[in-house]
Amino acid sequence: MRLLEHQAKRLLTEFGLVFSDAVVATTASEAAAAAEKIGGPVVVKAQVPFGGRGKAGAVRFAQDPSEAGAHASALLGRELRGELVVSVTVEPKISFKREFYVGVAWDTASKLPIALLSDAGGIDIESVGRIVRRNFDPWRGLDAFAGREMASALEVRGKIMVQLGEMLGRLSSAFLKMDALTVEINPLVETMDGILLGLDSHLELDDDALVRHQPMLGRIGEKRSGNAVGRAPTALEIEAQRIDAMDHRGVAGRVVEFDGDLGLLIGGGGASLTVFDAIRRHQGRPANYCEVGGNPTEEKVAALTSLILAKPGVRHLAVIMNVVNNTRADVMAKGVITGIKRVGRKPAEVLRVFRIPGSWEGEARDLLSVEGVVALGRDVSLDEAARLAVERSRRNAD
């Protein structure tokens, strides 16, 4: 889960990290009042959970309260890259001597957390600055001396070297304690008075660990349980999530909407990617991507089938899975048949392909045969099943 900048800063403050004072505003007049109180030039930032906000026009500078109010009014209620702006922050514009980048992330190659420090803060640090990296133990955290060594490797000296070392230690400890996937402060600036101050921050938490951080999420008013794609979910995607949450058994609802006429119920995880690629290669027009797996109940499958078919313009359905391990082909077949009938259609008229070989495939074949549908077996490959789905949809286009 990606947090908003002000939420990230609030949580990191609890670990002793220091940021510029920002006021959260949800109306233009609140923003103007905040600028008035701060006095002098301010920065107005839209609170949206993605990086590169500067380039997206989400960060604006104002000389006085009325300009700050105007910026806030332009940003609030607007959609930036599919994210609705519901709040902005107003903070003093800080002059600084130099900027740094500090971050902690997971290094999948070493399977360890990795602390990162660069002497170029800002937007293009991975191409401009020198970067120091250091893996650390996931039980012990980053040793204090290791933080100082990182700073010293960039030839930072004096008080700032000591402060940077401390900051890296605190950030690493925050990373571990919050179950973060990524945390960064960028830019981290040395002010004219010689102190380190964070100006912006990114924090992404591990969705699989949110359950043990409910009090922390409560403190920042966060009720989401995680999010996925780089745009707001569509109504169909939200409904699919609801169906998936009906029952803990199996996955039947990771759905992404597209605009074709061929509804897809595909799985498991790997096979759904394989089949979707194959449908596209054979010039099919998918109505959705979808992932089914594990051991979903008949009702879950039925609800998802109806949802996909109820979408305007969806005229065909293909149900394709890999040779299943723990999924029951007969339960899938029952669910699909029920779901099709529930929207007032007949299996033989919409179900172009049903291919779920493996456990209980014989029972599935019999159930479908009663409905006039011939189930495909494992001798038809995933690729061939996708090709047939496209070809049969085209043949039945009118």
Partner: protein, 293 residues
């Protein structure tokens, strides 16, 4: 390779619904599941297998050296540490949605005690005709239809695709020496690069079929390793999720870019593997290319 016919297996979380089915299927296939552990349920049996309260008791009573972990996600770290502390040498973690920190912590502990970890988030592994660990292949009759002994190793990031690939190879008369679902998470105990060394040394294997997906760096790390250590094996790869490269995704911060660079896209993985001498199949059906019966 990884599991021998005589290896004894303890199942942690054995009294769960799916674990019980897994034990039944494994026994029917010939795996030596000799004990189970569920704290508080010591003294019960599951499909004839004695249940203990602790791994220590299970190991003492049954001589298990391999564990399969099927406990809920919040309990995985502790279960794995318990395995590691009791001298288990191969620990397969089936559970999905394990917090990444827990995975990293249990792997750090496993490294210090020389325990090999497969997973988390894996359906398991199988040596056809010898034994299977986990739910891979499902019911024993389905396992026998999908997998047959032979000389091709399957290494796959998807459990479902492991069985699909095996079934496809079997249908074309190509048997398998081993098939391993490495686990679907970004950090797993044994990834392609870790496992290729084992396969390389296995005289019963001539070729490898790899299944890769978008995200993570497992394919690129393998490619880098193969560039430095050319393999005697014929390696065929199939990469799914090409459409994901074309979907809008927004990077969040710089850390991922600094750590992973341009790695992660299917296009990049494909190129890296090809440069390392791996045959990358365009269509799924092409994975047979160059594999002998």
């Amino acid at each position: 390779m990884l599991i021998k016919p005589e290896d004894r297996v303890v199942v942690q979380g054995i009294t769960g619904r799916e674990a019980t089915a897994m034990v039944e299927d494994s026994l029917a296939y010939g795996s030596r599941v000799v004990s189970g552990v569920t704290p508080g349920k010591g003294g019960e049996t599951v499909r004839g297998v004695p249940v203990f309260d602790t791994v220590a008791e299970a190991v003492a009573a049954s001589g298990a050296t391999v564990s399969v972990i099927a406990v809920p996600a919040p309990a995985v770290l502790d279960a794995a540490l318990e395995s590691i502390a009791n001298g288990i040498r191969l620990c397969l973690i089936m559970t999905e949605r394990v917090p990444r920190l827990d995975t990293a912590r249990l792997l750090a502990a496993a490294r210090s005690r020389n325990c090999r970890v497969i997973g988390p988030n894996t359906l398991g592994l199988i040596r056809p005709g010898v034994a299977k660990l986990g739910t891979i292949g499902g019911r024993a009759d389905n396992v026998r239809r999908s997998f047959m002994p032979g000389r091709v190793a399957i290494l796959s990031r998807s459990g479902g695709m492991t069985t699909e690939i095996a079934s496809f190879l079997t249908g074309h008369g190509v048997g398998q020496s081993i098939a391993i679902g490495v686990g679907g998470d970004p950090i797993v105990g044994s990834n392609f690069r870790d496992l290729i060394e084992l396969v390389e040394q296995d005289p019963s294997t001539d070729a490898v079929v790899l299944y890769g997906e978008p995200g993570g760096t497992a394919e690129e790390e393998l490619a880098g390793f193969l560039m430095a250590h050319p393999s005697r094996l014929r390696i065929n790869a199939f990469l799914s999720g090409r459409f994901v490269d074309d979907m809008p995704g927004t990077r969040f911060g710089h850390a991922a870019v600094i750590v992973e660079g341009s790695r992660g896209s299917v296009r990049g993985k494909r190129q890296a593997l090809q440069e390392a001498g791996v045959f990358v199949a365009d269509r799924f059906d092409d994975i047979l290319e160059g594999l002998s019966k």
